[in-house]
């Protein structure tokens, strides 16, 4: 619970020095050495030329500003069903070191990056929500980083919860693997704010999610969020095949259903291991002991590696059976899956991402 992340060094872009969030981070970082830099690119290039830049980047915090758009549609993946999700890229990258993490390959900048121009988030968000005022939008911060892993340094969750609780056409999700919820739970609950945890079997969490709390601890944190009055969600993603996976996932689903008041589960998503081919080399180099690359992964429609379809269907059917032993009405959806898999497993094939978004936001109708 107290295993908070602290970087070994902080770089601050000169132009980002006088933001309130910068001051807050420096105050909370205590004696961690910091350096004011003119251009972040120099530091990024320097680190990228070292052996294992990802590991060095994870020990280094960069304070800068987002000069582009904070809010972006989740890119999903070509050829598979999306869910019309929007992401707020407030902080980028993650100090946890999961074997399968796409960020190892997706980002040019390996540093843990905090964007301190918070006012721009609200300004851009106001504009974005007003443009889509007739729809319920699903928005989250946990795509290019963990939503809560830096929260003890930034209080980011409080700002976001405070902002979104007033926005009735938004469902806001904080997605994490951590137990860093103390700050966030200070905020009174709101029906349109969901705390979500990425879950996996304990074996996968132990072997492939370096630095992340155990699944039991994550579920305990989720339990605290529910006790505080929040809705929670769970993402079984990536589901990974290994000898004994059925028992491993049965255990975590049972644990989840026993620990959490299931009526407070907003949704559960399922996604099996998938990655672009360029990530293969990175995983092989950085995690030579991992075996996740060596199951039957074929090229999908999007060119990414994913399990052969019958194996994915088997994974999903098994997990859904585990979940539905207790409750059949928790909304379950797939992340980056084909219409055929939806039809085969969930007996419905969404016509598009909007339909998935509607399916997931319907139970929240009253908060619109």
């Amino acid at each position: 619970m107290n295993n908070f992340y602290f970087p070994k060094k902080i770089y601050i872009e000169k132009t980002s020095l006088h933001f309130p969030l910068t001051e807050k981070i420096l105050e909370r970082a205590g004696h961690i050495p910091f350096e004011i830099i003119a251009d972040k690119q120099d530091v990024i290039s320097e680190i990228n030329m070292q052996r294992d830049p990802m590991s060095i980047g994870k020990e280094t915090l960069l304070i800068t500003q987002q000069r582009g758009e904070f809010v972006k549609p989740c890119p999903c993946t070509p050829g598979y069903v999306g869910c019309n999700y929007f992401i707020v890229n407030a902080d980028i990258n993650c100090p946890l070191d999961c074997t399968y993490c796409i960020l190892q390959n997706y980002l040019d900048n390996p540093l843990i990056t905090v964007h301190v121009n918070t006012e721009d988030i609200w300004r851009q968000m106001d504009h974005f929500l007003s443009k889509h005022r007739h729809h319920t939008l699903r928005i989250g911060t946990g795509e290019l980083g963990d939503s809560l892993v830096l929260d003890h340094l930034t209080d980011r969750s409080q700002g976001l919860i405070g902002y979104f609780r007033e926005k009735k056409n938004a469902l806001f999700e904080l997605k994490t693997k951590t137990t860093n919820i103390t700050n966030a739970l200070v905020c009174p609950p709101s029906e349109n704010i969901v705390f979500a945890w990425s879950l996996n079997s304990e074996k996968v969490a132990r072997e492939e999610e370096k630095g992340a709390p155990s699944v039991a601890d994550r579920l305990e944190a989720a339990h605290q969020a529910v006790k505080r009055g929040y809705k929670v969600a769970f993402h079984f993603d990536p589901i990974i095949r290994y000898p004994g996976w059925e028992e491993g996932y049965a255990e975590v689903v049972d644990h989840m259903l026993l620990t959490i008041d299931t009526h407070r589960i907003a949704w559960i998503s399922l996604g099996s291991l998938r990655f672009p081919s360029s990530l293969k080399d990175v995983i092989r180099e950085r995690f030579p002991q991992s075996r996740i690359l060596y199951e039957e992964l074929i090229r999908g429609r999007d060119g990414k590696f994913r399990y052969f379809k019958p194996l994915r269907i088997q994974l999903y059917k098994t997990l859904i059976e585990f979940i539905q032993k207790t409750r059949t009405d928790i909304p379950v959806y797939f992340c980056m899956e084909s219409g055929e898999v939806w039809k085969e497993v969930l007996k419905k094939e969404p016509k598009g991402k909007e339909e998935v978004a509607t399916y997931l936001s319907l139970p929240f109708g009253e908060c619109r």
Binding site: Q50, R51, D281, Y294, E295, R301, F308, K309, P310
Partner: protein, 320 residues
């Protein structure tokens, strides 16, 4: 730098400290020198009373084999090995691009001459058209440590970086077993074989040599009526099957169902790649209208649900 005619037997060809090229074909150069003489003089330097080659190993060896008495050289007097090597590097760079093996030698020598890995990545890799990452440096250092037999193969087959990147993961003993299999294959297939073998080895937690030593693979290797290409192809296919057992069970089930239904051999029906989509492709060719009608008539036999559905739903489970 000064020009000097130097007696060939005064040049020390044992000291290879600046040498980056080991694998080359001298014949073309010998032929050229015999016809029109040496155009471009090699560069040499002095060390402890010896004359060492900085650039132009091929030219000097060619002149030696032509029994020339002397050779015109540029003499570069510089006491620092790194500076001498850098000159040679620049000289070569202006004339030609380097092979992968030469790049690997250059990287190794830069480090030997005291350049830090960080500086090699920052200042030299881009000159060699190598991405500026430590991973690339590490791979080139592994390449330079390959045994001569493998390097000879790399040179002879013009093996590219994607294949070499995989080859360095194998042990010397495994590479010795692999070379005859790789030799007749094209680069994509070489890559395919190396990747799948490595992945089976990791998946099953056994050395690649044990995967290759399996009875079914040994049986193929022992077939005397097969050419080296046929052996390599059959082993590559077998390794592929071992890597993707479920996928191949599905492919086999599809083929079995096709045969059981009597699907015409001159009309191709294929599932989507890796069965990822529910789409099937039917393909046939014809020359005349009659042939066209004949193919359609054959297809028409499958125009009922009972006939076609078993094929579309073929799976190993259904065949059990």
């Amino acid at each position: 730098m000064r020009s000097e005619n130097i007696q060939l037997d005064h040049i020390n060809v044992q000291d290879e400290r600046y040498r980056i090229s080991y694998y080359f074909d001298l014949e073309a150069l010998i032929h050229s020198i015999r016809r029109i003489g040496l155009i471009h003089p090699p560069v040499v330097t002095h060390r402890n009373g010896e004359i060492l080659i900085v650039t132009g190993w091929k030219r000097i060896l060619a002149c030696q084999s032509l029994s020339h008495f002397s050779i015109p050289c540029c003499v570069f007097e510089e006491g620092n090995d790194l500076n001498v090597f850098r000159l040679g590097l620049e000289e070569n760079r202006t004339f030609r691009s380097f092979t992968i093996l030469e790049k690997a030698e250059i990287v190794k020598r830069l480090i030997r001459f005291g350049v830090s890995e960080k500086v090699v990545v920052r200042d030299y890799l881009s000159l060699l058209a190598i991405p500026q990452t430590m991973n690339h440096l590490d791979t080139y250092l592994r390449i330079v440590s390959l045994e001569p037999e493998t390097k000879e193969f790399v040179h002879e087959k013009g093996v590219g970086f994607p294949v070499l990147k995989l080859l360095v993961f194998y042990s010397e003993e495994e590479r010795r077993i692999l070379l005859p299999l790789l030799r007749p294959l094209g680069q994509n297939k070489q890559q395919d074989l190396l990747r799948n073998l490595l992945e089976i080895s990791k998946r099953d937690g056994i050395p690649a040599r044990d995967v290759l030593g399996a009875e079914d693979i040994q049986e193929i290797s022992a077939k005397e009526n097969l050419s080296p290409l046929q052996i390599a192809e059959q082993i590559r296919n077998l390794v592929l099957r071992k890597r993707y057992p479920t996928l191949f069970a599905w492919k086999d089930a599809f083929e079995t169902q096709k045969k059981a239904l009597g699907w015409p051999v001159d009309i191709r029906i294929e599932p989507s790649p890796n069965f990822e989509d529910e789409e099937f492709t039917v393909h046939f060719s014809f020359k005349t209208f009659d042939e066209y009608m004949e193919r359609l008539a054959k297809l028409n036999v499958f125009a009922s649900q009972e006939k076609i559905v078993p094929l579309l739903r073929s799976s190993p489970d259904r065949n059990e």
